[in-house]
């Protein structure tokens, strides 16, 4: 039982990094004139997806019996997170831009790691 909660804790921690990171140290490009590029909206979307994952992780910890379904539902959210920067929402067209250099790879890794945690959670709950 306790072991099945570990992935939820990992998910929660990673989601917090996504939420805080997307607005601070992993934020998209800041334009000199204050205008927004598409990467700004990608950053917002990533924060939203991070929030969704965080809530799902909390749901696992609160409603332990429903964890199989909740873990499963986190996986498509993670897939969205991986696809959002660059595929679903465009980023700046120069790979030396901050959104491509920092935000995109970091977010893909964070959402992939969250997805793996969700997958492990799903598998361990399925076993029980």
């Amino acid at each position: 039982m306790k072991k099945a909660m570990i992935p939820a804790c990992v998910m929660l921690a990673l989601s917090l990094v996504v939420i805080v990171g997307s607005q601070t140290f992993l934020s998209p490009c800041v334009h000199e004139d204050g205008s927004f590029g598409p990467c700004h909206w990608a950053g917002r979307a990533l924060m939203g997806l991070g929030c969704a994952n965080g809530v799902l992780a909390l749901l696992v910890l609160i409603f332990r019996k429903a964890r199989f379904g909740v873990y499963m539902s986190a996986m498509p959210v993670c897939l969205m997170g991986i696809l959002t920067p660059g595929t679903l929402i465009d980023l700046c067209h120069m790979s030396t831009m901050r959104c491509r250099m920092v935000m995109q790879p970091a977010m893909i890794i964070l959402f992939a790691a969250t997805g793996i945690a969700a997958l492990l959670g799903t598998l361990s709950s399925a076993k029980e």
Binding site: D33, C92, S95, T96, Q104, I109
Partner: protein, 400 residues
């Protein structure tokens, strides 16, 4: 062999904590070796690529751009720069004794493009005369650059066939160029006619680049010196012959870069050696501790008929497997940091940085994992020797 191998494998799988700690130590070792090697290799190929792209012995730039610094930054970091001189400078260059080839280039910094908040460097070349950039462009584009055609560096995210707007002029992307690891990757290339049209459009936008005479302008002349001629002598002749322009030896640019590269290489190598030694010493200690913990287990194996050689082999197999596991994990972790964040590393180093190709990288990864296995096995040699020499009778009685 396979009998002891399966027992070693079981020991590793069924003692996950012990395995994880040993693997973690070798993972650090592998992380340092693989990460460090990739960075150093990337810097070396970056330098080679820079040398190939500079390709000229001497570059002539307007005195105002003597700003060798700004010119150098264009190559190294892709910063934009625009400086002009009269196009007649090209003819004057060809008059100088010892000059074999001379190719002009014209630079223009774009206004912010639609995509990005930064400026892009536009470089106009003369495909017939060019001998530096053209061979590189030819690898990605079989025909010549037509009017209002552009070839983009690999870091400009525009696909072939796409239209990009530069000073409100519609330019068609006809090729994306291979990576060079230099500032050239963030630039856009066009022929001289297109460049003149862009210069005109820029003029209309209020971006002045005209020089007093009002004639055609160029930004730099790339010069190749005839074989056997003294480059320094040609350089001096150029400086004496052409006014308002300065001839710069490319060697001086490359020397600067290679000095920085040597510095970075030294730091990285020092770091690799330090991590290695530390990891190796900790591994030695870890194996020494494990001897204490496992003496009884090996005494039992001994009385069940294992020879000393079998026990040594078992210890070495276990540590090598652990090392391999750690090596793979370390390489994986390094890859997770190096590849997605390569652009960030390049920007932070401010040096030409060209990642090695997939084949070389895989070879390096496999070599590192193998090296980790060998190092772990070496660290356990003393432990293996001591465990194989234990006196089972004494050890089994002590445990009671």
């Amino acid at each position: 062999m396979s009998k002891t191998f399966s027992l070693s494998a079981k020991n590793l799988i069924r003692k996950p904590g012990r395995t994880a700690i040993l693997a973690l130590l070798t993972a650090f070792l592998a992380l340092a070796v693989f990460g460090g090697s990739v960075v150093v290799l990337s810097l070396r190929s970056g330098l080679n690529s820079l040398e190939a792209r500079l390709g000229a012995d001497i570059i002539l730039v307007p005195t105002e751009a003597q700003s060798k610094v700004s010119f150098q930054n264009m190559f190294l970091q892709g910063t934009t720069g625009a400086f002009y001189m009269d196009a007649s400078a090209l003819e004057k260059v060809t008059e100088v004794e010892g000059v074999e080839k001379a190719a002009p280039q014209t630079f223009l910094a774009s206004l912010k493009a639609d995509c990005c908040s930064i400026k892009i460097q536009v470089i106009g070349i003369d495909p017939e005369k060019d001998f530096t950039v053209q061979p590189w462009i030819a690898r990605s584009l079989t025909k010549e650059l037509g009017d209002m055609d552009v070839a983009v560096g690999c870091k400009v995210e525009a696909n072939v066939g796409e239209i990009i707007r530069l000073y409100e002029q519609r330019c068609k992307v006809v090729a994306r160029l291979e990576a060079t690891g230099t500032g050239l990757d963030t630039a856009v290339y066009c022929n001289m006619d297109t460049m003149n049209a862009l210069l005109k459009a820029a003029e209309e936008k209020g971006v002045s680049h005209k020089i007093e005479s009002g004639s055609d302008v160029i930004s730099a002349v790339y010069i190749k010196v005839k074989d056997g001629c003294d480059i320094d002598a040609v350089n001096s002749r150029l400086n004496g012959h052409i006014r308002k322009a300065t001839a710069v030896r490319t060697r001086s640019m490359i020397t600067g870069v290679s000095d920085s590269l040597a510095g970075v290489s030294r730091t990285v190598s020092g770091l690799i050696v330090a991590v290695w030694m530390l990891a190796f010493i900790i591994l030695l200690l870890a194996f020494a501790l494990i001897i204490q913990e496992r003496a009884r287990e090996f005494a039992v194996l001994r009385l069940l008929g294992s020879s000393r050689r079998m026990l040594s082999r078992m210890v070495l197999t276990e540590s090598a497997l652990c090392g391999l596991l750690g090596g793979i994990a370390g390489v994986g972790l390094a890859a997770l940091l190096l590849f997605p964040f390569s652009q960030l590393i390049e920007s932070s180093l401010r040096l030409p940085y060209l990642m090695p190709d997939a084949g070389k990288t895989l070879l390096l990864a496999a070599g590192t994992a193998l090296l980790s296995a060998v190092m772990a096995a070496l660290a356990s040699v003393a432990a293996a020797y001591r465990l194989s020499r234990i006196d089972p009778g004494t050890v089994l009685r002590e445990g009671n």
